[in-house]
């Protein structure tokens, strides 16, 4: 199998997946949860499946108390309502009046996040991703410092991070599309998922890079592209088997893990598939491309 020879095709596939996502981010924006924007979220249960009548009654109770609703979502026995920030006394008033309307009404969850906390979460998330990427480049540059010429350890670091950024774009892009069409929200769990994907992606990339490093030492006479291609093929079984195990575990959690972490798991699944793809088809071919461009000068 000649992966390096067809590298442009693999780069193209990546772009075809990433570009719609980027367009979705630009045109639709991200469907940010109250974790970032501030607001309140109430989870209600009525002891029976939620019907239209119940939803309308909740709506009218809320407007009677001048609570502005952002979204209402229902799933079987639960009703999820997102509103502008409301405080505890407003909430207890609402709960008391809803208890009069519905015999088995229960507030399962109530969360309020002030706008300043939301801004802080956003800032922390962005800082976290940037700092983690930077540290990973540093670590790889250090760890691969003995890699034989013409390769340079800094390039390994940068290529690993390009693969990582690829995965972040894929996950964020797909969630921008999911957010627009299915109302899927980006919350702080999503940030956790993205950061895990970063860790996993680099984890995967390093396994391939480690083999390249070893093969470069063993066969100094071989062409760089050839060494990279061999290394990818030698580690392919492992890459696929590992990803498959993690994907299987995630599928188990997705099917039985409950609703609260469903989209978190989906984000992980997308990211891990993308991470495996990028470490095999992007990170290492990119090393070769860089090498070729330098060679032409």
């Amino acid at each position: 199998m000649n992966i390096i020879g067809k590298k442009n095709i693999y780069f193209l596939i990546s772009f075809l997946i990433i570009i719609p996502g980027i367009l979705a981010v630009i045109f639709y924006g991200l469907n940010l949860s109250i974790d970032f924007t501030g607001g309140s979220r109430i989870t209600m249960s009525f002891g029976q499946p939620v019907n239209d009548k119940a939803v309308n009654l909740v709506k009218s109770e809320m407007s009677a108390q001048k609570i502005k609703i952002s979204t209402i979502e229902r799933s079987n026995n639960l009703l999820f309502v997102r509103t502008q920030p409301i405080d505890q006394s407003q909430n207890s008033k609402l709960v008391n009046s809803l208890k009069k309307d519905f015999a088995n009404f229960k507030e399962e969850e109530f969360e309020t996040i002030g706008p300043s906390v939301g801004a802080e979460t956003t800032r922390n998330a962005v800082q976290g991703v940037i700092l983690a990427s930077f540290l990973i480049v540093l670590y790889i540059t250090y760890s691969f410092r003995k890699v034989p010429k013409p390769a340079s350890s800094f390039r390994f670091g940068v290529c690993a991070v390009v693969a990582l950024v690829h995965d972040v774009f894929v996950v964020v892009g797909i969630f921008a599309i999911l957010g627009h069409f299915f109302g899927v929200e980006i919350d702080s769990l999503f940030v956790t998922a993205v950061l895990t994907v970063i860790g996993f992606s680099v984890h995967d990339t390093i396994v391939v890079f480690d083999r390249i490093r070893e093969n470069l030492k063993r066969n100094p006479s071989h062409a760089f592209g050839q060494v990279v291609n061999d290394s990818i093929l030698q580690t392919l079984d492992r890459s696929l088997n590992t990803s498959l195990t993690v994907v299987l575990v995630l599928l188990a959690v997705l099917l039985f893990g409950g609703e609260t972490i469903r989209w978190f798991i989906v984000a992980l699944l997308v990211g891990i598939v993308s991470g495996t793809y990028s470490s095999v088809f992007n990170a290492s071919p990119l090393l070769v491309l860089w090498q070729e461009l330098r060679g032409k000068k």
Binding site: I136, T192, N241, V246, L251, V253, I261
Partner: protein, 445 residues
């Protein structure tokens, strides 16, 4: 490397300890012919001097409860006293929560970019009205003078302090008349004492009261609890009082903090609050545990299908891995650094099982390759480990770096996830390098 036999004993010991820690306490359990089995760790732990109960510390999302982040409004507090004021506000909440009887509350203060915050987590409390009573009002500091038993009817009043003997009457002196309280030392005896400084308004009221109650007691009451009731030895006219009464430095500090709660009241605004009903928490716990067990079985089936005998060995190593990590979680409840199990933490744990498998897969694939090149089974085992080690090390270090960043920048959920993942990665390296290798060496060595 030590001999495999020695390591095997270490592994067996670790397994036994982990199982011992993980087993839930049970009583009168029947299993086939064996009747009335009992098991409880506490007596054993007590023998080695551990009295805390051993249990997983569950986060609010699993246990149900309320978490609130409050912002202290410091606009009226001089900047030098803001730390004191924040601490006092925290102490007030702590006292109320303890009085209310919440098990394992967490009350922390934090300073984020100039904001003074108090974070309160109350497991099991889901009634917001109760929560508001606990933290929604600022502290009331009042002074009560001893008037003798003739006004016993006062004791029946609902506003009467809970732990104050009958015979006190509320004065017109209150927290707003107190400027500041601090710890000082008596110049003659060198013993710690608590100093009170009153405002000019308070100075006048205090002078009147102390003239009236010389030789009797003046109780100081925070909310509804008397915190101290010193004897008034002489009228104090200058607005500066000292309470000396054989306390330690720590006791003096506590009293000062409590007094400052009245002197430096800070209004608290809710920045963030989260109430999770108990049924929601319990069902999340059940579901994620089930998912974890299912995920584990999936891995075992997959590994055995892929690698046969090797897969069985890897599964044993993984089982031990899961036991050790869970034992660390549970045992950490005895230390100040207890790991709180949250929904995202369980997700991190399940993911770390995936990463632990990866180390095994890396090693096995490498062994296969070495065998294909014609090396003996024994040699390929050793080569498989030594050659896979660099990639296991580098990939896990990068995961650890990401986790450290998460712990630094993350908020609650994210941090819980990262702590679990970092523990998982560390134990997984041990499991792959020590456990899998020892078992392989014993079998094929």
């Amino acid at each position: 490397m030590r001999s495999p036999r020695f390591l095997l004993w270490v592994i067996i010991a670790l397994t036994v300890i982990s199982v011992f820690i993980n087993l839930p306490a049970f009583k009168d359990f029947n299993f086939g012919p064996i009747k009335n089995l009992n098991f409880n760790q506490s007596p054993v732990l007590q023998k080695i001097g551990i009295t805390k109960p051993l249990d997983f510390r569950k986060g609010l999302d699993l246990a149900g409860g309320t978490s609130i982040t409050l912002k202290a409004d410091m606009s009226s507090i001089p900047s030098a006293q803001r730390d004191d004021a924040l601490n006092s506000a925290k102490i007030v909440i702590e006292k109320r929560v303890n009085l209310f009887g919440v098990a394992e509350p967490i009350i922390q203060t934090s300073k984020v970019s100039g904001d003074y915050r108090i974070i309160v987590e109350l497991p099991g409390v889901t009634d917001l009205n109760e929560v508001r009573k606990l933290i929604g009002t600022t502290a009331q500091l009042t002074f009560w003078e001893e008037v003798g038993t003739q006004s016993g009817k006062l004791a029946t009043s609902s506003a009467y302090p809970i732990n104050l003997p009958v015979g006190y009457k509320k004065t017109n002196l209150s927290g707003s008349d107190l400027k500041q309280s601090s710890v000082g030392f008596n110049q003659n005896t060198g013993k710690p004492q608590v100093l009170l400084t009153f405002t000019s308004n308070g100075q006048q009221k205090f002078a009147e009261i102390t003239q009236r109650v010389v030789g009797k007691r003046l109780a100081i009451v925070l909310d509804s609890l008397a915190i101290t009731s010193p004897n008034v030895n002489e009228p104090i006219l200058g607005g500066n009082a000292e309470i000396s009464g054989g306390f330690t430095v720590d006791e003096a500090k506590t009293l000062t903090t409590e007094l400052n709660a009245g002197a430096l009241p800070v209004p608290l605004n809710t920045l963030q609050s989260h109430v999770i009903g108990p049924t929601l928490g319990a069902s999340s716990l059940d579901k994620s545990l089930f998912a974890g067990v299912l995920g584990f079985i999936t891995i075992v089936v997959f590994m055995v299908a892929l690698y046969g005998e090797l897969g069985v060995i890897a599964s044993v190593a993984l089982l031990l891995y899961a036991l050790i990590v869970l034992a660390i979680f549970k045992a950490s409840s005895l230390t100040p650094f207890s790991v709180t199990l949250t929904l995202s933490g369980i997700a991190g744990f399940i993911l770390s099982i995936g990463m632990a498998v990866d180390a095994n897969i890396l090693i096995f694939e490498r062994m296969k390759e070495e065998q294909r090149e014609g090396k003996s089974k024994k040699t390929s085992i050793e080569l498989g480990f030594s050659r896979a080690w660099t990639s296991i090390r580098d990939s896990n270090v990068s995961t650890i770096i990401t986790c450290l960043v998460l712990i630094k920048f993350g908020t609650g959920i994210v941090r819980g996830f990262a702590v679990v993942l970092i523990l998982g990665v560390l134990v997984s390296m041990f499991s792959a390098i020590v456990v899998t290798r020892t078992l392989l060496r014993l079998k094929y060595g």
